[in-house]
Every structure is written in structure tokens, then in C-alpha cells.
């Protein structure tokens, strides 16, 4: 055998193992943060938050870490539903922020009894299109055009439920080509230009900047979600970060990211 001739007997099973192991699903940030410990373990605050909060909470966590020496804020973003499920299954968490209240049903009833709860923001649904708006979407009614490829969030996650509610109330059934696992995945299909329109949150359109064009939905047809923030312990770092997010700094960051005041 020449040296560059790979032995199939050794290579293939090894490769098979590598590849089959690599095909397990992961949430957008994976669960890397959850392993790092819970309240009181060396000043790490573990935060699980709705994907739509990615930009403001990332900024807030960085600012908080800079102001508080030795405190680390570990963030993990995903669909509120997936994260609530992970918490219910025992994922380490100190702070949880959900888009809308529906995912809270998945948490144990007494989950936040040692900590607290506050509403940090509100959000509405908005249509996002690629920057050049190839489908010429000007309003909600245009989504009824069967030639448009529309992407929504999965029925199970808050942004999908909200989009379904808006569409149902307007009596529109668009040509939906995909239902993505969270709002950022939904938005990505539009920023990449693969879909003509997606229904996401107003804040996502703001965060995406020039990568998308937003088409607003009038209040009368829209739904508003509130964003509850739950913290699960009395650890000073945890409470400190929760207060930071619910306080003026948090309010400012959330409004800058396109969220409405609670």
C-alpha cells in the first residue's frame, strides 16, 4: 500500500462516528453557557433569552461586565419555547427573558418564587423583506399573493404564534415556504434573499438595519407581545443584573434596539 492510500477499514468507521455525532441539532447559541454554573458560582450570571433580545441583551451584558469586576454574564439565545423547555428539564439558569407570555406556561409554577419578575419591553409584528423588496410588498394584504415566498417562525414559538394570529385576523393565508425555529433564523432567510417576506418583530427589523426593509403592520391588525424577565435566585449578582436590565440602562438599550417601553 502506498503511504497516501488511506486504509478504509480504519478511516470509514472513524469518519462515520465523527459525522453522525456532528448532526445533532443545536440552538442558535448552543447550551455552552448553561454548563458554566448557576447562582453564586464564581459570579457567573447565566441568562437564557428570546432570540429577539440578542442585540440589546448582548450589549447590556457587556456593559454590566465592564462595570462589575469579576462578574461574568453568560448568554444563550434561542426560541423562548426551547429555552423554557430547557429550564423545565433542569438547565442551569439565573435569568430568563421570554418573548410573550406563552412560553412561561412551560416553566414550573414556582420557578421564580425565590427571585422575581418584571416586564422589560413590548414588541409588535412587522414584515421584513430583502432590502430591494423584490416582491413589492407594501402591506399585510400583499402577503396573500401566492407568488411570494413567505417565511414564518414555527407554530410552536412566540413569533410564529404572533404571526399566525395577525394573519388569521386579517384572513390572509400566504404561501409559506418555511417555518423556522426562532425569529433570527426567520429573519436570516430574508437577509440572504431566499424569501420574499418574513414576519418577524419590529425590533428585529430595527436590529437588522439596512439588511432588510421593514413593512409595518397597522396597530389595528397587529398584536403586541410583552417581554417578561424572570430571575430565579436572590444572589446579588443575579438580582443586580436583573435590576440593570429592568432599570434605565436596560430601558435605553431596549428602546435603541426597537423595543417599545413596557
Amino acid at each position: 500500500m502506498s503511504p497516501r492510500r488511506w486504509s478504509m477499514r480504519t478511516l470509514l468507521p472513524a469518519l462515520a462516528v465523527v459525522a453522525l455525532a456532528a448532526c445533532s441539532p443545536a440552538t442558535s447559541e448552543d447550551t455552552g453557557a448553561s454548563g458554566t454554573g448557576s447562582a453564586g458560582s464564581g459570579g457567573t450570571v447565566t441568562v437564557l433569552a428570546a432570540a429577539s433580545l440578542t442585540e440589546p441583551l448582548t450589549a447590556l451584558a457587556e456593559a454590566y461586565e465592564q462595570d462589575h469586576d469579576g462578574v461574568r454574564v453568560a448568554l444563550s439565545f434561542g426560541s423562548s419555547t426551547t429555552l423554557a423547555q430547557q429550564i423545565a428539564e433542569g438547565a442551569p439558569v439565573d435569568v430568563y427573558a421570554s418573548a410573550g407570555e406563552s412560553a412561561l406556561d412551560l416553566l414550573p409554577a414556582d420557578a421564580a418564587q425565590d427571585g422575581g419578575r418584571a416586564t422589560i419591553a413590548r414588541n409588535t409584528v412587522e414584515i421584513a423583506t430583502p432590502p430591494d423588496n423584490p416582491g413589492g410588498v407594501a402591506g399585510l394584504q400583499d402577503l396573500a399573493d401566492r407568488d411570494l415566498d413567505v417565511v414564518l417562525c414555527a407554530e410552536t414559538v412566540p413569533c410564529g404564534k404572533a404571526a399566525d394570529e395577525v394573519l388569521e385576523r386579517a384572513g390572509i393565508s400566504p404561501h409559506v415556504v418555511s417555518r423556522e425555529v426562532d425569529v433570527k433564523a426567520t429573519l436570516t432567510k430574508v437577509t440572504l434573499g431566499e424569501a420574499d417576506a418574513a414576519m418577524v418583530y419590529h425590533s428585529d427589523v430595527v436590529s437588522a438595519g439596512s439588511d432588510v426593509t421593514g413593512v409595518e403592520i397597522p396597530d389595528a391588525d397587529n398584536v403586541t407581545l410583552t417581554y417578561p424577565l424572570l430571575w430565579f435566585s436572590t444572589d446579588p449578582d443575579v438580582v443586580g443584573f436583573a435590576q440593570y436590565v429592568t432599570g434605565d440602562a436596560g430601558r435605553a438599550a431596549l428602546e435603541k434596539a426597537g423595543f417599545l417601553a413596557p
Binding site: M8, R9, L11, A16, A19, L20, E155, R179, G193, E194
Partner: protein, 262 residues
Amino acid sequence: MTPRRPGPTRLALLAPAALAVALVVLPMLGLLARTDWGALGTHLRAPVVWPAIRLSVLTTLVTVALCFVLGTPLAWLLSRARGAVATWLRALMTVPVVLPPVVGGVALLMAFGRRGVVGRPVFEAFGVSLPFTPTAVVLAQLFVSMPFFVLAVEGAMRSVDERYDAVAATLGASPLRIFTRVALPLAGPGILSGAALAWARALGEFGATITFAGNFAGTTQTAPLAVYVALQNDPQAAIALSLAMLLVSLLVLGLLRGRWLR
């Protein structure tokens, strides 16, 4: 020889070995333990299950057929090729095995998406776009499973003695005839196990599929995607579907027994 008592060396090996077994076996037992056996039939009839299984079966069969049609000639050429080009080609064909599937999905979007290198001219000329179609599911599966097929078949064809080629050639057989009458039959078992490996990999495909093909029941939501989404609102349906896939995996392994488990 008297039976040896487990000495410290033996124990030192036994502990990690047992842990390795536990790491692999416990999750599967967990799946069985959390299954609601009494209601399994009901859960298997959940609306998410059947379209996903049907799509998975259809797309993976098409994938394996294409692997055979396209991959076998490639494997044959590689098995008889000498020189740098073949070496590089072989390495290139192996990349998807080690590439994270999500990256594969992104790469597929960049190539075949509506704005992709190949996808854009096709979309502009014919108005056809691949993402969000069952064809995209097959492409994603082909990308991840073709290497397994080609490597396995090439290995089998290498072991076909080249003197057979020479003898067939002296008897006047054309290269094509040598391929179909000599190489194919002799590499038959290798082709079968390559097909089984490719099929198993295609069946488990998640990352590239959800990234490139999206997630829509009946169109692009394969069984692994359905498991992931169902876990959010119907965990028992997710478990039932997982169980079905575990069963299929065991079946494939059973068919491969004697080739890989010897």
C-alpha cells in the same frame, strides 16, 4: 492458566470503558424510559409524524439512488487513478464528512440559493429557486452522504485486483464494460455497505437541511427536523418519532452486521 484476578491495571481500564458504554447507552435507555408506551400509537399518529417519515423515506431513497448513479463512477475512477489530482480530489470529497452540517447548509445556500453562484442565474433565467423544496432536502443529504458512499465504494474497488481489468481488456472489453461487468459485481458488497452508510447519514441529516431547505411540514420537514420542532409543543410525539428513528437505525446496523461489526 489460572484466571487472573482483576488487578489495578485492569480496573484502571475498566472504569473508563464502562463510562464510555454508559455515555452511549444511557441516552438510548432514557428515550425508552420516557416513552409513554400505552399512548405510543396515538403519538405516532400525531399530525407531525407521518408527513415527516414519508418525506424522510422518499428523500433518502432518492439520495442513495443518486449516490449510486453519480458516486460509483467517481469511486471507480478514483480507485484506478494515480497522481496528485486523484489525491486532492479524494481529500476534497472527504471534506463534508468533517464539516459541520450547518456550514454545509450555508455553503449550499451560497451556491444554490436564490442569490447563490449557481442559483442566481438559474432563478433569473427560469424563475426556479431551490431552497424550501424537497429537491433542496435531497441536495443537502447528497452533500453530507456522498463522501461516505464514494469512500466506501472506492475502498471496495481498490481491493478488486487490477489484473482482472487487464485480463478483461486483453479479451477486448471496453473500459465501460470492465466497469459494469468486472468492477461493479466484485465491489457489490462494498457498494451495499456504502449505500447503507450514506442512507443512514442522509436520514440523520439536520443542520444542512434546516439551513438550506428550511422547515415546512410535508415539503422540507424531515423526521429529525420534526423531532426538534415537536419537542417544543408535543414532546411525546417527538419521543415517538425518535423511537421510530432509533428502530430504523438498529435495522440498518443489523443489515451492516458482519461488515462493520465483525
